[in-house]
């Protein structure tokens, strides 16, 4: 049994990586700065006033691990291809699913293993009043929306940064469990960049009019 499972996982990961690569190549308008890049270091920051500090980490927000819950439609998504969550799962009145298909029906506060439901504390979607949908938004729009207390559950900047850097559910993106692609930018680097952005005044990029075409295929 063991050898079979191991190779199956290997294969699944291989396929997932391929799909991810394909997804990236579709997203033509994602700027080079957003691409996960090994050369970018947390401390070699670009100038502060033009929102480049935000675009330095926006690739994380656009990653399927984040985007699958921040995408269009009143439902979560799955996989690196961002397909709608199986079983007709919906956002629900509080972002916790509906009736007999709530997030906690299957998801625990921890990952369970390959092909099993992933999990983290407070596994949920943003609530419908503040759905925090990033799909289809420009970097500038994403930036403004996460800073907007009307859209971000009334978080001030400190609380927003805390959510981005310390929330267990967000942190899950770096430890998504076997068979799922983790966010490539190291968490430390991401946290440092977010804090750098905050320290420099949390400036958003200016609107370029350029719009990410399809961050998540299938919509």
């Amino acid at each position: 049994m063991k050898p079979l499972r191991a190779s199956f996982r290997f294969l699944a990961v291989g396929i997932a990586v391929l799909i991810f690569a394909a997804a990236i190549s579709f997203s033509v308008s994602i700027s080079a700065a957003e691409k996960p890049s090994a050369e970018t270091t947390a401390f070699a920051a670009p100038s502060t006033g033009d929102g480049a500090l935000f675009t330095a980490f926006v690739s994380v927000l656009r990653h399927p691990r984040c985007m699958n819950c921040h995408s269009r439609g009143d439902f979560p998504r799955q996989g690196d291809d961002g397909h709608p969550h199986a079983m007709n799962v919906r956002r629900g009145p509080e972002g916790h699913g509906v009736t007999a298909e709530k997030c906690s029906t299957c998801h625990q506060d921890h990952n369970l293993g390959a092909h099993l439901p992933p999990g983290a504390p407070n596994w949920a979607l943003p609530p419908p009043a503040t759905p925090m949908i990033w799909q289809g938004l420009t970097d500038a729009q994403i930036c403004r929306s996460i800073k907007d207390p009307k859209q971000n559950k009334n978080r001030n900047l400190d609380q927003l940064v805390e959510h981005l850097t310390e929330d267990k559910l967000v942190m899950w993106g770096w430890n998504p469990g076997e068979g799922r692609t983790p966010i490539p930018m190291p968490h430390e680097e991401f946290a440092a960049k977010v804090k750098q952005w905050q320290a420099a005044g949390a400036t958003c990029p200016t609107e370029t009019g350029k719009r990410a075409k399809l961050d998540v295929p299938g919509q």
Partner: protein, 156 residues
């Protein structure tokens, strides 16, 4: 020692806390009405209520139940009087019957939260429960029937 309530009875158990609730219910407590179908929260046969919410017991470690209240199919009603059970009989829903415990436990949460469910509500509540025999059309009818019984005040 792990302690929780099952079908209104307190149980104290000495089990590995990572054991799925399903197997504790079935093997330690003899409550075999809750079924094993897939072991990965894909089919819903193992659905029970944990503090009133539908939970796939095949992936929920028993530790998650500690201090909480579990209801299984055996505790849905003592005498087949739950409106859903009566509707299931009226519509002759089960075929092999294996998935029906899970179907009923999911439907019970649906009806509690949406006493007059639409077809869309049914799709959103019941799509996590697989039936290989294909009783879906009857499950849908029976849920509507149970909702009707509840409106008419026939519910317990």
């Amino acid at each position: 020692m792990l302690s929780f309530i099952v079908n209104k009875q307190r149980v104290n158990l000495d089990v590995d806390p990572s054991t799925p609730l399903l197997w504790v219910l079935r093997e330690n407590l003899g409550l075999t009405g809750t079924k094993y179908g897939c072991g990965m929260a894909q089919c819903g046969a193992c659905t029970v209520h944990l503090n009133g919410e539908a939970v796939r017991s095949c992936v929920a470690p028993v530790s998650r139940a500690a201090g909480k209240e579990v209801t299984t199919i055996e505790g849905l009603s003592p005498d087949l009087s739950h409106p859903l059970q009566r509707a299931w009989i009226a519509e002759d829903v089960p075929q092999c019957g294996y998935c029906q415990s899970g179907q009923l436990m999911s439907a019970a949460v649906l009806l509690r939260e949406k006493p007059q469910p639409t077809d869309e509500d049914i799709d959103e509540a019941m799509t996590g429960n697989i039936c290989r025999c294909g009783t879906y059309p009857r499950i849908r009818k029976a849920i509507h029937r149970a909702a009707g019984m509840m409106t008419k005040g026939e519910a317990r």
